[in-house]
Amino acid sequence: MPAHGLIDHAEPIPPAAYWELLMNLTKREVKGRYSQSFFGVAWAIAQPLATMAVFTLVFSRLAKMDSNGAPYPLFAFAALVPWFFFMNSVSSGTLSLITYRNIVTKTYFPREIIPLAQVCSRFIDFFAAAALYVLLMTVYGVGIGVWSLMAPVFFLLLILFTVGLTFATSAMNVFYRDVNPVVQIALQLWLYLTPVAYPLAVVPERFRLFFVMNPLSAIVEGFRSAVVFNRAPDWTLTLISASIIAAVFVSAAIMFKRMDKYFADVI
């Protein structure tokens, strides 16, 4: 016997079931990505590591890029780890509802779990690369200071921004498949428009506003101040970005919930 009578909306699922479904879909995603590959999760660190090597060669050795006195590889890697978390999540997240169309069109469950699982599945990559970063710190003789306690704060901002953007792009891509190629190209360019290979300080004043409006600037600079330089982050920049991130997250979540009624019809 149902506890209540007829209702117009979908029966909500218990929070425990919601959480476990998210974990299971994440597991399915991770297992699908790394099973039957010999190196498995080791591939997760190959991407930032290889990019760090190329950046070191191009920006540090050839272009003599200033890294504020820190070892350049460390300087780049501290930004590449959050960057790839963001890029990979948004990249596969944009396609996620289409990839899972089989269950989207056949069973009801809270649809936001699908893009969320994409982001969650990148945690393992993030932490594997973060562990490697700690190793690199000892190699370069850089110690962990008290400001590293800020790293979780920037990680939280990173997650919120990534989830918000993934909600928006995944939902829009259900309706307009042009969204995916646009997103993929934008991600390629975004890397160079974010202070990953270079410090924000070298950006000329007239481009500064553009960089401030990009929440990833504050995030990568924040990670660096926490774990490379052991100093306080740029609070103004961080607050501006946190506000932008909150606005992006809330509006994307609202948009997603409004559009999800139509997913099964057009997917």
């Binding site: 016997m1 506890a3 007829l6 425990a16 479904l21 299971n24 297992k31 039957q36 269950i103 099964a264």
Partner: protein, 427 residues
Amino acid sequence: MPLAIQLDRVTKRYRAGRSRTVVDLIGSNLDRMRGRAQDVHSVTRGRIDATIWALRDVSFDVPEGAGVGVIGRNGAGKTTLLKLISRVTWPTSGRVRVAGRVVSLIELGAGFHPELTGRENVYLGGGLFGLTRRDIDRQFDRIVEFADVARLIDTPMKRYSSGLYARLGFSVAIHANPDIVLVDEVLAVGDAAFRRRALEALRQLMTDGKTVLFISHDMWNVRRLCDQVLWMEEGRVKDYGAAGEIAERYMSEVNVQALANQGTALQSHRGGTGEIRYTGVEIVDTAGRTAVLFAPGDTLVVRASYRADRPVARPVFQVAVIDVDTGLVITTATSRPGDAPDRVDASGTIECRFPRMPLRPRQYILRLGITDSHQLASYDVVSAGPRFAVSGHGAGVEGLADEEDGLVSLPFEFAHHTGDVRVVHQA
């Protein structure tokens, strides 16, 4: 009686044709700016003109604990109905209200991942039905036992057969403690033994007060499982009422339409050596009129014309009746003296008469052949001849009850004796 499902003037419109692109997005935004009302899947200025009305103005109630069969042709809106009730999709207008937890079996094991083991998929699939790990832990052994997959439960599901895949999917769904179960013809997969158990399980759910909506083309199952039938036609409710009566009328209508459209030409690719071949086959009633629909106990005549290209001695004409779903019912042949001429060398017609045919209400297909006198070498084989259907209650066949299963109706009598009776074959 409280209601489990209520649809009130529900309309569902789909956009047909090509997918929307950014060009359409710009177009519809221009429209919006000019003040034209748009909804999210609206039609923009004729760029996309076709819309499909999957459901139009559908209203019906399903009381709690009812078993409702949903019947109708392909495209009648049956699956859309299930998707609306399960909240996979939402109505364009009207109201869908549901009481309790819905589990939809639109495709068995839709949420499973082939790389994960059966065990992991039980938790994943159960999660999609809103179950927690603890819920599933409690039901796990029953789920595995029902699906009969204990041996393979820790094997990745990509190694499973499709039948096994479906069985585990079904098992997870019915153990998800649903209030309402929606079944969309998923029982077409799997072997007969599993189908029977699945139907039993659905019946048990109904006994436990759960509501079951059951899409099926198999009127036999619909009548056995459901007390009510909802007949959909072109997105509208054509009829809704007592299962037996509506299934009966549906069968008659569908059979007449489907069978009336069958071509009269015989298939062109045929077996046999070809010395003698059928040139036409028709099914007629006692009055000699072409017929496709018979009542149990009617007389059916198969009239086949043939032509021999050269003289053939003692050909044997064969006519077999095949149940479309379950297979051969009977083979007949002109093997007795006088059934057919000793020698044929031109055209002719052979008639096979089934007086007071005791067939059950189902669809049948004829298979015809011409062989040599030993019925070894084939001159001609028509493997898929014309079809006919038996439906309704006929006169002239005794002891025929709706509830009996089987291919044919045999007259039968029971006798009862009190006291010890010697039974010849004892266990």
